[in-house]
């Protein structure tokens, strides 16, 4: 006997969690099945909607103007501009005062850990004081033991990028960190619980010790950027405590994995799933499916320690990610979607999957499923693969999220629409 729900979402990243949440709003039984840790943990927690056009024009101050002009087949074109706006409203309601950017259509430019700026539509409130359009002079603080972020170099790079304020950087020792290979969660933990640290002449709280070092380095700057390690469970308290101690604004500069802002967003999303009554099954892969009557999926098969267990639903959402999340996979001759074997268009010769410039227009970057306006995958002839399957997020084709800076926006919008349509089907 199969485990049965109304809607089954496969994949636990941004697209999958948002799809499950929007499906659950219709009242049916919703289940989310997720295998590995989601790529949210790699991500910055920023919600990029569209920073550059597919032709590379940008950074775009207003993403919505450009969305209307996107070519047929782009995920935003598939769902329509209004759905993008609805999805953002959904996200804003979900994240409440932990995110900024809802007050305007304009993109923000966020300083990155390597000292560039990148356009984004929504940003964690801990990133908000660092926006590049704000002309406040800025001190960037890096730590000797965190080699990804070099404060002085990032400051110089931002200056070269033309930001409208003075930048300066310093490298400090992080109080209480003895080992050069301590994980970022260790830094966050010290600040979360304000642990006692040895400062050579006795012990003091980690926040006070950190603030003392930064305070000495300040030369009139009105805000300070840190790598994203300012607490995890008590992030907001940590940041405001530091602001109070320093008397200036404090923000985090997004960085690569493992990324605490991404993990904080993940925590919020999973908390919301629990609140919404979504059944979450983690740590197991969906490996196959059973076809039913007509062009319908009867059930999918989940691998539980080598045993294939059926999970059935009326509607399915495929949100397994792109090449990174393995929702799209490949061998030496084919690019394919591994669970349902949905059609993935690609060049036959694998030497046409890429171009010679590392940041060139790589065909592989937009490989994925082609879908109709309801986000249902289509085969090579444009016919539906299945009547009760929708796809969302990076598994979709038609866009290069890295070049466009549109990854989380597309995941959010298509997850929202796919979940909403699936939920509407079952609530009849």
């Amino acid at each position: 006997m199969a485990i049965t729900d109304d809607v089954l979402v496969i994949g636990g990243g941004l697209a999958g969690t948002v799809a499950a949440l929007s499906a659950a709003e219709h009242g049916g039984d919703v289940r989310l099945v997720t295998y590995k840790q989601s790529t949210l943990r790699h991500a910055t927690g920023l919600i990029d909607v569209l920073g550059y056009t597919p032709e590379g024009e940008g950074p775009l101050a207003d993403p919505f103007d450009a969305i209307d002009a996107l070519p047929t087949g782009h995920p935003y074109e598939r769902v329509g501009t209004d759905a993008v706006r609805d999805a953002l409203l959904f996200f804003d309601a979900l994240t409440g005062d932990t995110y900024g950017g809802a007050h305007t259509d304009s993109n923000a430019l966020v300083p990155t850990s390597n000292g560039t700026v990148k356009p984004t539509a929504r940003y964690p409130v801990g990133t908000a004081p660092g926006l590049a359009a704000d002309p406040a002079d800025t001190l960037f603080v890096g730590f000797e033991t965190l080699p990804e972020f070099d404060g002085p170099l990032a400051a110089k790079h931002l200056e070269a990028a033309g930001v409208p304020f003075e930048t300066r950087g310093v490298t400090l020792q992080f109080p209480g960190i003895k080992r050069a290979d301590a994980k970022v969660t260790r830094y966050a933990h010290l600040l979360d619980w304000d642990e006692a640290v040895d400062i050579g002449r006795g012990e003091t709280g980690a926040r006070a010790a950190l603030a003392a070092g930064v305070s000495d380095a300040l030369e009139g700057e009105t805000r300070v950027g840190f790598p994203p390690i300012l607490g995890d469970d008590n992030h907001d308290v940590v940041r405001r405590d530091l602001e109070e101690r320093l008397g200036v604004a404090v923000f985090e500069v997004p960085a690569g994995p493992p990324s605490l802002p991404g993990m904080r967003l993940e925590d919020q999303l999973y908390h919301a799933l629990e609140e919404a009554g979504v059944n979450v099954t983690t740590g197991v892969p969906v490996v196959d499916y059973q076809a039913g009557d007509g062009d319908r999926i009867e059930h999918v098969l989940v691998d539980r320690k080598g045993q294939q267990v059926p999970y059935a639903a009326s509607e399915y959402v495929l949100a397994t990610g792109g090449l990174v999340g393995k929702g799209v996979d490949s061998d030496r001759t084919h690019v394919f979607e591994p669970i349902f074997d949905c059609h993935v268009a690609h060049a036959e010769d694998r030497y046409e999957w890429f171009v010679d410039d590392a940041f060139g227009d790589h065909p592989f970057a937009s490989y994925g499923l082609e879908v109709d306006n309801e986000l249902r995958p289509q085969d090579a002839n444009g016919d539906l693969e299945f009547e009760n399957l929708r796809a969302a997020g990076a598994v979709l084709s038609g866009y290069d999220f890295a070049a466009e800076k549109s990854g989380s926006g597309v995941s959010l919008s298509t997850g929202y629409v796919a979940g909403d349509r699936a939920g509407a089907e079952v609530s009849g």
Binding site: D48, P59, A61, D97, G100, S106, N107, L109, T112, N114, T116, V117, K118, P119, P129, L131, A132, A133, D134, P135, T145, L146, P147, E148, D150, L153, K156, H157, A160, G162, V163, P164, A180, L218, E221, T222, D236, R240, E243, V248, A255, G256, P257, L323, V324, K326, D329, S330, D331, R350, Y351, F354, D356, D357, A358, F359, F364, A365, A402, G407
Partner: protein
Amino acid sequence: MATDTEVLVLGGGSTGCGIARDLAMRGLEVTLVERGNLTHGTTGRMHGLLHSGGRYAVSDQASARECIQEVDVLQDIAGHCIEMTGGLFVQRPEDSDEYFQKKLTGCRECDIPARVLSGAEARRIEPYLAKDVKRAIQVPDGAVDPFRLCVANAHDAERHGARIETHAEVVDLLREGDDIYGVTVRHDSGPGKRTHKTPGTTEDITADYVVNATGAWAGQIGAMADLEVAVRPSKGVMTIMNVRQVDTVINRCRPKGDADIIVPHETTAILGTTDEEVEDPDDYPEEQWEVDLMIATLAELVPILKEARTIRSFWGVRPLYEPPGTGTEDPTDITRDFFLLDHAERDGVGGMTSIVGGKLTTSRLMAEKISDHICDKLGHSASCDTADVPLPGSENLEALEDAMDEFGLRSPVARRSTQRLGSRSREVLQTTDPNPVICNCESVTRAEVQDAIAQSGSDLNAVRIRTRASMGNCQGGFCCQLLANELHPEYDEETARAAYDELFQERWKGERHALWGEQLSQAMLKYALHATTYNADGDPARTGTDVNFEAFDGGQTDTEAGPSGVVATDGGPRNRGGDQ
């Protein structure tokens, strides 16, 4: 302006660096110029097989004997550059018994220790060998890190007073009548130690004697003085696997052929190779069929290679040469021996000798013979010590084991670092500053990166060949930016940015040939990290885009907090401190 030296060596590969070390140790004043990094040409693009000589035991016994002698020498003087993995010549059922016997006899004739193993015995050593492997001959093959060996030679040459000038391309040979007396080099416009001179300038370097050790490029150099050096460049592909499927060098026991070696190398295994003559050593096609052939053919020996993950492929160009009139059709038949072409004897033009052919395993011996020749020419009498004096990093290797734990590094990191640095470990790793890991795939710490920067300047590809940073599974995905960060503040922001760009593009060049399955996924992750998180592709500092910052969201303004205020999480205005 001009500078003068006794001997000028052209080419910073294993031959050139070996000669520079040898002559400098004999007390001559030496300058070496190289147009790119050390190892930039063929040395940095080989499979890393340290030949026992077994490979040449049938076709070229003189070379085979030299190989086994030099393997012994290298164990004494370059222990930190080699790994004595042992090797197998593996016979499949379809391979000739007669050739197997010839190989065995040949090895014994050349004093190469050789032992016959049954298929089952061979599989006990290498469990992933194909089930139907018939027999194998066990020989003392090994793996050599060509970068480390070459850099150690150059480093030691410098310690003996040599000038090593990288990123200095020879643009002309200075010839007057029948005498070559120097070269003109152009210094690269790159920053830092890439050049000791002003970028873009040229420098004349005059010398009593010039050694053309430019390998596959020797013909181009010769042509600058109207001398013909008929080098026949031949390309070969090498494909790098993400793990060591084998811990022993695996050779196919048959007369010749493409795709017949697997060399375990550090954390990877390298598959090699093909042999195809090319016109221009700087411009030849890198083709898909070569990669596919490598995997398909070697999977006959080690079947799991068919499904295994490759991380990149690269091509090298052998400097094959044969005396005029030999007329060999197939490049695989051209001898691997080296040739010393004294242009005085050959062309009546004095002052220069060209070296062509040869192989890495015997490069020290080759350097010795050439140095003898040059000393003879210059009337300089000094004996060669290179076989007896260890290279920097290989002194007192016994003492190293005891020192392994003392650098405050997690033990796997310490083990990898000390393997690379050898006896220099203490000098490099003993630091009181925090020493975080910069490249996780290859366990390279800040101290080792800083040591490499001190040697080679701001060129991160030069740091790469010294440390292996960015050469593992992620191909620099996680460490390119971290490496660039390490350049600052010694080098300025623009230099660090350019160095990152150069390393990133260089890594991509080889990754392109491995883009399917796991590695395509890895490539997308790398692209996404650098484009999405860092916005390296849209960076206004790089694109030169003039951004109108005012048009962008500057945060939700609050009248009480002033124009730069942001509403705090509780909705109230936040005190911006310094504004007031």
